[in-house]
Symmetry: C2
């Protein structure tokens, strides 16, 4: 965790070490953004192509994604972020906002989430647009978009209540 300097009004909370559950990196994200300063604040669908490079053995887990969906939710690990701020001051003006009212990378579990447009699949690599993270960011998950999503499993009684 990078301990950046606190801005006026920001508030730290010591929650103790994490360790409730463990993540496995399933690959890396390749973007044209080499440093944090290069990253846009938000990814855009007309932004550059980025590559979700899965571990090669996970390639079959992509079957059906690019064929069936135009967009996906991508989860990744913001491994350079501090995790102990409850109040943050994004504008450095002393005005503070709760961490859960921001999409800042600084949060107790620094999981990034971007909705991306799927461009194409190349084996174990998925080319997408709409990311804003640094090159080499660890990849956690890819989910087909929920908006246009129809569950493939049969309906259950609980769905019809």
């Amino acid at each position: 965790m990078t301990k950046t300097t606190l801005r006026d009004g920001e508030r730290v909370l010591d929650l103790g070490p994490p360790g409730d559950a463990e993540l496995r990196f399933i690959g890396r994200i390749r973007t044209p953004f080499a440093t944090r300063a290069d990253c846009p604040r938000q990814g855009r669908e007309d932004g550059p192509d980025c590559a979700l490079e899965l571990l090669p053995e996970l390639a079959p887990a992509l079957d059906g994604l690019a064929e069936g969906f135009a967009r996906a939710d991508v989860l990744y690990w913001l491994d350079r972020s501090r995790r102990d701020l409850v109040h943050q001051s994004p504008k450095s003006d002393g005005r503070v906002t709760g961490t859960f009212a921001l999409r800042s990378p600084v949060r107790p579990n620094p999981i990034g989430l971007s909705r991306v447009r799927i461009v194409r699949r190349e084996g174990h690599v998925l080319i997408v647009r709409g990311l804003d993270c640094i090159d080499g960011t660890p990849l956690l998950d890819i989910k087909p978009e929920a908006c246009s999503f129809s569950p493939q499993a049969p309906l259950k009684a609980a769905d019809e209540r």
Copy 2:
């Protein structure tokens, strides 16, 4: 991890133990769904009220969320899911789909993601609608919705490319 029976055509991959990064549970989700059979396949905005019960010391991190946003992305940990399937057969009919083309809880990192409607805040508890998870599910993160999101931080050169 629960080792459920495999369906026809489903494919397992041994990725070895996780351990690339550690999560901290920030609270629990209270839903009316006591068992998996009670859970709907997908949450709906006209579904029942559910409660995101944060650790009390994290209450300040909610400041500004219910006041500023109608919806949020909720991340949670599906702690009963197996993590080793690359091909799944949701309809149990032998037809398989890659894990990343499904929103099934079974995935290498069983992180659930739901877009919810914010109903109200009560101290360290956020009342929302649109969840489909079991009562007691560990909570990982809450992010304001991205659709209507305008970054609070100043624009950077990289945003204007």
